[in-house]
């Protein structure tokens, strides 16, 4: 317990850039493991403490005219790209209505990248005191309570958002977030057997089974990701950047 707390204190000191280094570890995401596989190794990486804000994204647009709503290609962002930027939000509120391509371009502009789904889920499984609270019914219910609230775009306020054990804020409770490989395959051994997947549409010998069936909150995140296209924009979908551990 002491070592966990010590790690939390160390990790929670962002070094100016608004990002923290998450230590290497092992993690069992809800999907993606082969049959019989217990978990994945996660290398240490850096992750923004908060989702990218509207003000930060505005600075990117200032420097990158090609990504402004009036010039971006419809191949790279839907019509309602940044539509909500006209609404009266705090400039600190997370930028939303931003496509994957734009999010990736923003992170690249900062010399960074989007987190992988594995990295994002690894970070998001932590609560304020433990690294992996995904099996804790109270933690899962707290997330589900947020998912069950209708979104009020005027209330995308970061104030009062708790820091998890790594020092990362607002992975739950504000907006959904893009990951670099969100278009991963999303099937379980079960639904393949049920024949829901038409024969021959999918290649792969190993079944990606669900490791933690009780984690309904994670299931919803995977369901949302599988419904997205890289040009999608949603008023409840933002992102944060990741990078190599320092």
């Amino acid at each position: 317990m002491l070592s966990v707390l010590a790690a939390a204190v160390l990790a929670a000191s962002p070094d100016g850039g608004g990002a923290v280094t998450l230590p290497a570890g092992r993690f069992a995401p809800l999907f993606g493991l082969d049959e019989g596989q217990k978990d994945f190794a996660v290398a240490a990486f850096r992750l923004d403490v908060r989702p990218v804000s509207r003000a930060e994204f505005a600075a990117f647009l200032e420097a990158s005219p090609a990504w402004r709503p009036d010039s971006v290609s419809r191949q790279l962002a839907e019509e309602r790209y940044l539509a909500s930027s006209k609404d009266a939000h705090s400039p600190r509120a997370p930028v939303v209505d931003v496509s994957y391509f734009a999010a990736k371009a923003y992170c690249a502009w900062r010399g960074q990248r989007l987190p992988t789904t594995l990295e994002w889920e690894y970070a998001a499984a932590a609560d304020e005191v433990t690294r992996d609270a995904s099996g804790d019914p109270a933690f899962v219910q707290r997330i589900l309570d947020w998912y069950s609230r209708p979104s009020r775009p005027g209330e995308l306020d970061l104030e009062g958002s708790p820091r998890n054990v790594y020092g990362v804020e607002a992975l739950h409770g504000l907006v959904w977030e893009w990951t670099s490989d969100f278009n991963a395959v999303f099937v379980t051994a079960d639904n393949r057997q049920d024949g829901e997947q038409p024969a021959g549409t999918m290649c792969g010998a190993g079944a990606t089974g669900s490791a933690r069936r009780e984690d309904y909150a994670a299931f919803m995140r995977y369901a949302l990701r599988s419904s997205l296209s890289a040009r999608s924009t949603l008023p409840t979908l933002g992102f944060r950047c990741a990078g190599a551990a320092r």
């Binding site: 993606g32 596989q37 309570d145 979104s151 490989d181 278009n183 549409t201 997205l228 999608s232």
Partner: protein, 188 residues
């Protein structure tokens, strides 16, 4: 467990995306960089101005990839028979494994050695991910076991780089795909 309202939103979004399809997507909207089998750098804009068939495989795949490749061979034969021969571009989903030697073995296995209509492109994981995202093509590589799960989609790409039609299942008949290819202009 309470039933979250947001689930309805998730499902609605899923249905919308499912009906969207790949038609109209441009493989040139983001520049992707590859190496051909001769080791030379190549971009998909090399095929700009031409109709071509595009698909993804990985050469060590033991699942349905052999079937995908066989389907590409049958499609190639059907296009020839219809008087509309097209280039076929095969993109590797496993750049770390699919070395030139492995690609040569793959060609040999399917009788494609020296078949000029077929090109196999190998990039890196980021290039594959970028192209997959342009096409709404789903794939996952298990970093520890190397197992790759992926859609089985064959795309017809128009001269401007946009997808004209696609076959999303191995069971889908070839006829509609072949019909979607315009007959070549008569030579003068």
């Amino acid at each position: 467990m309470r039933r979250p309202l947001a689930l309805a939103v998730v499902l609605a979004a899923g249905l919308a995306a499912a009906g969207d399809g790949a038609a109209g997507r441009s493989v040139l909207a983001v520049e992707t960089a590859w190496r051909g089998e001769d080791g030379a750098r190549v971009s998909l804009s090399k095929w700009k101005g031409r109709w071509y068939v595009l698909s993804f495989v990985y050469t060590s795949c033991a699942g349905s990839c052999p079937l995908t490749t066989k389907k590409l061979l049958r499609l190639d034969a059907a296009l020839q028979k219809a008087g509309k021969p097209l280039p076929t571009v095969i993109v590797s989903l496993d750049p770390a494994h699919d070395t030139p030697a492995e690609v040569a073995k793959y060609r040999e296995r399917y009788g494609l050695t020296g078949a000029p209509r077929f090109s196999v492109l190998v990039g890196d994981d980021e290039q594959v991910r970028s192209l997959s995202l342009l096409l709404d093509f789903r794939y996952t590589r298990n970093p520890e076991s190397g197992v790759i799960l992926h859609d089985n989609v064959v795309y017809l790409v128009a001269p401007d780089g946009t997808v004209r039609t696609h076959m999303s299942s191995l069971a889908e008949p070839l006829a509609d795909f072949v019909d979607a290819v315009p007959a070549p202009a008569p030579r003068r």
